[in-house]
């Protein structure tokens, strides 16, 4: 029986794209109003039914992800499981929103809106860049450039003015050959022929005037050029600088999830390379664009007005040259791109080896590493040699094609001049014979045109590069941060009560790490989080620090939803010590005061003292001014950790988070730090994660997480009595400690 189903009858309807015979399809998953779950491999005609079942039989829907695809699975009320269908990663978002809504419907009988944020462009159906509404396929270059410059409106007048100056210099440049022509035609040529058409004017004086006029033009051009260039350099530097700052600010504002989507290298590249591509473009290419524009239009107008036929000779080769050169560029560009990639691969190997030089030496694999590097270099050398050869052949050929027009004009122009002097010599096929002055003027104009032609052919490429960089920057600059302060974010005095209410969270929404957790942590309480690795301990504290937002449920700080509290207030009130301490390049003092830039030295020393750090710092030759971080004084793990603790407490935070703060230390150092922490946690809500369970023995309460849920809660003693998960963990650790001590 195959009853027709209309999508209008659907409660929910989403796409899937792999059919039962492994082929790509555009299928539809439909949950109908009369509670049938039905799948069609052909979603347009709702034909090729692939699956049908009574929705009331389903207990829970889930997704299990595979490689390159995932499957929608159902757990039935009778205990069976069914793989309903598979889909590629492209449908993952849709299907996971569907199962969220469907499961909610099963649980509560209530319908919710399926919120599928469209990730494809409505115009072309292709992907947006993640978290933005930018479609690289559709966005045209003009809109990208406009969007980009919209970020620096203040700079536009300065740019426009410097553009105007360039325009003026180029117009002046076109006037010079005109003066030269007058010089030749009215004075020099007649003089050489023994004619004196200047009447009673003094020819030497006139020549002087003309020469001075030319000199004036040159001087004006140079002066204006210098002014324009200075203006342009200053403006573009300021503009790009402001973009860089905007970009940097944006990176700081973006949430962890969108930062971690990108690599560090990628972000640094955006900040340095892309911005400098744009600076270079503004500084040099825009000038050329104006220059070429003026010269082309000016010369074209001159030729059409005076010598229409000659225009043909001059301009006919132009499209040919542009076409040939564009093809040439495309061809050579690809090869150079490959060469560039090979060179960065070789560099990558070098980086890798030098970074891991200890491993290489320990394993004695120098020879094979050398071989790897030489192989990469050999490939690079081969490719670049080929490219250079090609370039050496093609470039002169291109130059020759460019020059053809010039020769045509030279030949026919010179004939025309001869014809003008004596009608028996040569023919003037270009109309009225040329005067010598006109001829020199034409030749210099041709030089003006053909000079930049070569450059013109590479223009599309450099525009494309600049626009690509702009698009990449737009991508970040216009990204909507998914975690941001509400408009009227609250700035309450934080006391330190934390409660999770039915909280669910997963880094991928279809793979919850914490499931429906409800948990109360009172102010001043010290709570230890315990559980196997990957169980969600760090996730829980990431949520408290609001590095991520919950998928569903609530997280309250003193009864206020964390999303309503301003990030700044939150940060000021939470101190964190991680297992891996990151100290910035700078002095120890700078590193501690980082948490509270307005702290007095007394405060800094006190924080260090509480953290048990003061004593060792004071013994260093440069004491608090000791430079640490990369290229700085190397501190031991314990010392770094104590500095981190000093940094965390300087703020006097109401909530203290210790994520394996002492895990990497030996027991003696740990006990020193523990002692420091004991002083610290009084009166503060403390949440500590530790694998070494002895670290948590002072905790008021231990919370055992298991499979994303709170499995056990209580004091150390209570949990031991329970003989549950915690008991087993403790026993397992005792076992290993015993073994370790036996071996000694």
């Amino acid at each position: 029986m195959n009853r027709e189903i209309n999508t209008d009858d659907a409660l929910y309807s989403v796409e899937y794209d792999i059919d039962s015979s492994d082929l790509l399809c555009s299928g539809r998953i439909i949950l109908t109003k009369d509670h049938t779950l039905v799948l069609y491999a052909d979603g347009k005609n709702l034909s090729k039914e692939e699956f049908r079942c009574d929705f009331n039989e389903i207990k829970e829907l889930s997704i299990s992800s595979h490689i390159g695809c995932a499957s929608l699975e159902a757990e039935m009320k009778n205990g069976d499981s069914i793989r309903i269908c598979r889909f590629t990663q492209s449908c993952l978002n849709q299907v996971s929103e569907f199962i969220k809504a469907a499961n909610y419907y099963i649980e509560t009988g209530e319908l919710t809106e399926i919120h599928i944020e469209s990730t494809v462009c409505p115009k072309c159906g292709k992907h947006y860049i993640v978290n933005t509404k930018i479609c690289p396929h559709c966005s045209n270059k003009v809109s990208i450039v406009r969007k980009f410059f919209a970020l620096g409106k203040n700079y536009i007048p300065a740019f426009a003015f410097s553009g105007l100056l360039v325009l003026i210099t180029n117009v002046i440049n076109l006037i010079i050959p005109q003066i030269n022509r007058v010089l030749v035609d009215e004075y020099l040529f007649p003089a050489s022929e023994g004619i004196e058409p200047w009447g009673d004017k003094n020819p030497v004086l006139m020549i002087l005037i003309l020469v001075l006029l030319m000199l004036l033009c040159y001087v004006a051009m140079r002066v204006i050029n210098i002014i324009a260039a200075r203006l342009r350099n200053a403006t573009s530097a300021n503009f790009v600088n402001s973009i860089r700052i905007k970009l940097y600010n944006k990176i700081q504002v973006l949430s962890m999830s969108s930062i971690s989507r990108r690599t560090t290298g990628d972000l640094i590249k955006r900040l340095t390379e892309d911005t400098s591509v744009i600076t270079d473009f503004i500084k040099s290419e825009t000038v050329w664009i104006i220059e070429v524009g003026v010269v082309f239009v000016g010369v074209l107008v001159y030729f059409i007005a005076t010598r229409p036929l000659l225009t043909l000779f001059v301009f006919i080769p132009v499209p040919l040259v542009v076409f040939a050169a564009a093809r040439f560029w495309n061809f050579i560009h690809r090869r150079y791109e490959k060469q560039w990639r090979l060179s960065s691969a070789a560099n990558g190997i070098l980086h890798d080896i030098i970074k891991g030089i200890r491993v290489v030496k320990v394993f004695g694999t120098e020879k094979s590493e050398i071989a790897k590097f030489s192989e990469a270099n050999r490939k690079l050398a081969e490719t670049s040699q080929k490219n250079e050869q090609l370039w050496a052949i093609l470039f002169p050929m291109l130059g020759f094609i460019v020059g053809v027009g010039e020769f045509l004009v030279l030949y026919f122009g010179a004939q025309s001049v001869l014809n003008g002097i004596s009608p028996e010599l040569g023919h003037s096929i270009i109309g009225k014979p040329l005067s010598l002055g006109e001829f020199t003027q034409i030749m210099s104009y041709i030089g003006f045109i053909y000079g930049p032609l070569r450059w013109l052919t590479s223009l599309p490429r450099s525009i494309a590069n600049a626009v690509t960089s702009m698009a990449k920057l737009n991508e970040i600059l216009y990204e909507d941060p998914d975690i941001k302060d509400k408009e009227n974010a609250l700035t309450p005095e934080i006391e330190g009560n934390i409660s999770f209410v039915n909280a669910t969270f997963g880094y991928k929404s279809y793979e919850p790490v914490l499931k429906n957790i409800s948990l109360d942590i009172k102010k001043g309480e010290m709570v230890g989080l315990v559980g196997h690795s990957g169980v969600g301990k760090s996730t829980l504290i990431n949520l408290i620090m609001r590095l991520y937002d919950l998928n569903s449920g609530k997280l309250l700080i003193d009864g206020v939803d964390i999303r309503d509290i301003s990030k700044e207030t939150l940060c000021l009130n939470i101190g964190t010590v991680f297992q891996e301490t990151f100290l910035f390049a700078g002095s120890i003092y700078d590193n501690i005061i980082y948490a509270k830039p307005d702290a007095t030295p007394e405060e800094v020393f006190s924080a260090a003292k509480i953290a048990n750090a003061h004593e060792f710092i004071i013994r260093l030759p440069d004491a608090y001014n000791t430079v640490v971080g990369e290229n700085g004084y190397s501190l031991s793990g314990g010392e770094r950790q104590r500095i981190a603790i000093a940094r965390a407490i300087l703020r006097d935070p109401k909530i203290l988070i210790l994520d394996e703060a002492t895990a990497s230390l030996d027991t003696e150092t740990e006990s020193k730090i523990q002692e420091a922490l004991q002083r610290l946690i009084k009166g503060r809500t403390t949440i500590a994660i530790a694998h070494r369970l002895s670290t948590l023995r002072h905790a008021d309460r231990l919370i055992v997480l298991e499979k994303g849920k709170v499995a056990e809660q209580g004091t150390h003693e209570e949990l031991l009595k329970n003989k549950g998960i915690y008991y087993n963990l403790v026993m397992a650790q005792r076992q290993t400690t015993k073994m370790a001590s036996l071996k000694q």
């Binding site: 492994d22 082929l23 490689i67 499957s71």
Partner: protein, 174 residues
């Protein structure tokens, strides 16, 4: 069996194919009866998905505990082999590209239109030189493409691709 002390210590369970019987299970899953125990909803993982996709298949139970490693699909009977490779095909989805119809560069994204063994497909690749690459030094001419969504496509032998298709991605391969 093996005189390497490391192999002895680790005690890998290499599945004895004579004692293993894979069978399709209700609901579209795979089951394994091994040494008298029946495991439902077993999971398969390729240990060397690029170098040797049909060798060293880890088989684990529904909770993820490893039952053993299947040394080589070729050692199974035809019928068993088909059952296992059908399941692998379900878990590893990577249509083979047979022709590249078009490749356009837009703002650092490459847009492809391709024919694959699973039908026509359009997709976008970001950072093409990182996401289009030879997959393994041991399979020198096999190319993998990953699109922006995380889908995978494979070109089994780049050398056998027609020249117009090959030209479209050649520059990204190093």
């Amino acid at each position: 069996m093996n005189d390497n002390i490391i192999v002895e210590l680790a005690d890998l369970e290499m599945i004895d194919v004579n004692e293993a019987k894979f069978a399709p299970e209700k609901g579209g899953y795979l089951s394994l009866t091994y040494k008298g125990t029946e495991y439902g909803k077993v999971k398969l993982n390729r240990a060397l998905p690029y170098r040797a996709p049909d060798e060293y298949i880890c088989v684990s139970d529904k909770d993820g505990k490893e039952i053993g490693i299947l040394r080589d699909l070729a050692s199974l009977s035809e019928e068993q082999k088909k059952i296992v490779s059908d399941e692998l095909d379900k878990l590893y989805y990577s249509p083979a590209v047979t022709r590249i119809l078009s490749a356009k560069d837009r703002m650092g994204f490459m847009y492809f239109e391709v024919e694959t063994t699973a039908g026509k497909r359009e997709f976008a690749v970001r950072d093409a030189s990182r996401n289009i690459k030879f997959i393994d030094p041991d399979r020198k001419t096999a190319v993998q493409i990953r699109d922006v969504d995380g889908n995978r496509y494979i070109i089994d032998d780049f050398m056998k691709l027609d020249s117009s298709s090959a030209k479209k991605i050649e520059a990204f391969l190093i």
